[in-house]
Symmetry: C3
Subunit: 242 residues, 3 copies
Amino acid sequence: MIVLFTDFGADDIYVAQVKAVLAQQVPPGTPVHDLLHGVPNFDARAGAHLLAALQPSFPAGAVFLSVIDPGVGGPRDPVVLEADGKAYVGPDNGLLSVVAARARKARTWRIVWRPTPQSASFHGGDLFAPVAAWIAAGSLAKGKLEETPGLNVQFKADDLAEVIYIDHYGNVLTGLRAVNVSHSAKIEVGGQRLAYARVFAEAPAGSAFWYENSVGLVEIAVSGGSAAQMMGLRIGDAIGLV
Amino acid sequence: MIVLFTDFGADDIYVAQVKAVLAQQVPPGTPVHDLLHGVPNFDARAGAHLLAALQPSFPAGAVFLSVIDPGVGGPRDPVVLEADGKAYVGPDNGLLSVVAARARKARTWRIVWRPTPQSASFHGGDLFAPVAAWIAAGSLAKGKLEETPGLNVQFKADDLAEVIYIDHYGNVLTGLRAVNVSHSAKIEVGGQRLAYARVFAEAPAGSAFWYENSVGLVEIAVSGGSAAQMMGLRIGDAIGLV
Amino acid sequence: MIVLFTDFGADDIYVAQVKAVLAQQVPPGTPVHDLLHGVPNFDARAGAHLLAALQPSFPAGAVFLSVIDPGVGGPRDPVVLEADGKAYVGPDNGLLSVVAARARKARTWRIVWRPTPQSASFHGGDLFAPVAAWIAAGSLAKGKLEETPGLNVQFKADDLAEVIYIDHYGNVLTGLRAVNVSHSAKIEVGGQRLAYARVFAEAPAGSAFWYENSVGLVEIAVSGGSAAQMMGLRIGDAIGLV
């Protein structure tokens, strides 16, 4: 199973190029899942925390093709991370580092193989996709990877007290894991203090609250409305805990 | 065949979670179709009329995972509807009731099974998805459902004289079935009276008209333009027939 | 393999209708790829140049269901193009003509078969989709097509010095093939002259440049920003070469 996690935009021209490559490299019938193509553009840090929160839905053996790669064509390394039975293929710019830091067991490799010819600007298609396909197919040839002691860019395992994603309802996801936050705590954001509610149906209509979302993160929401719009929140805004 | 019909947003993080659950429950190769993830947010009424119009494209045996569920975590029941050889799994908030009311033959069940642990806020993933998967796989164990005389919330079979969907061209779908509207009738909306045209190619360029769209609904359009923008129309706006 | 290339919108109600038809006509397991559903609305000319740039990612034998069809229901012919081992099914409004003109070997047919009943407004679903499915399945019956000497509407093989697509990052794709443009050339657009950069990582932060994108087109970009927004560019804007 290959799982795609990118900022390529779900409706744009890039995902199809990646899938065309995968289709030619994996055994027919290998499932390819679109996890998210709407990671905030160029934002490896938000992406790192989202990936850590979203990966548990997928079973052991999953290969995550993870590409938020504003430095493509520059000096950053292409890498493979193996963490708790799942593989992650992507740039060494921090994107994979929160998963790595939270894993019970992790190993990392630099990808030393290079495609011929190689595009300057789209390693998602011509470098990362073939490597992910080979790993998923169990056909990765020796010598294409070189083990390294760890990732070069590391954001660490800590929660991130920032807005990391805004969904299409206008719900605001933070990098705080709800398991680390007491239900009696207030979330301070945009000059307001928000109390906890278990579900939308129990929150007062039209006013903001926080709750534990389905992937375990602290999320800010407004019942029947857009929290992001009402509170003017954006990716990267700081979150306080009181 | 499983068919997804939700307000989860096609490009957001929720569809992948649902598909990850399905992938682990259905036989490999079971097709999963994205019918629509852009049902107007929280709008079970618009969704009910859209679902009734869109379901005929799918063959008997299809299982519709149908989730517009603003009351998740509250008292509304999770239900299964069987209508004319197709199954529908979702909340009992009216969403399935137009399909039910228009069916020649319909049966309904309450879902009494509960997942362990159950999320408070995302039954799409942990409650409705497994039930849909089991129905599609023919492996639904006895005792997980309890037959009921009918749905609790019923919007009835009548057409809905309102805007129920606006597509990405800006075409405006109404809840009126074209089979019930004479070609000589005028549609009154936003202070204008619109005449019928058979196709875009026969409508005067730049002016609004109504026609029977590909799923049998009365649709308001502007050739080469956005009817929604030109006429300032929004979900829920009333439609008149003259 | 069937490849979808349309202006239907990836998140709208039309792609699912097409896929429902395909699913009932092709052998189970036939891959269906979403190449792009975000071709600029109604714009066969932009579509023609995009299709020519994007089709090389797909292998011989691919069948492109290509529908940008504002004249549906009018006099334009439905056609099939065979070009260099790939098939293209769509309207004869120029959309397929750039691929045809650039092919080493091309043949064209008019589709004379008509579905019963036929919708007036959505040949994507009821006319083009079955024909594409039959070609992909190798089951197209004799007499459904009639060979013609060529397409009626032809945009020719020349590059198009215009904006043909804007991606979700705000990068601006032109109809100029980079292989025809010297790296020392400047791109003139919106009153500015832009120099070449190999990759984003080598461009000055915050200022616009042009580069060869992953499908071989001249693309205008801003590192870490939206070129379309910064320069106020839109589909159809003219591009100069200095």
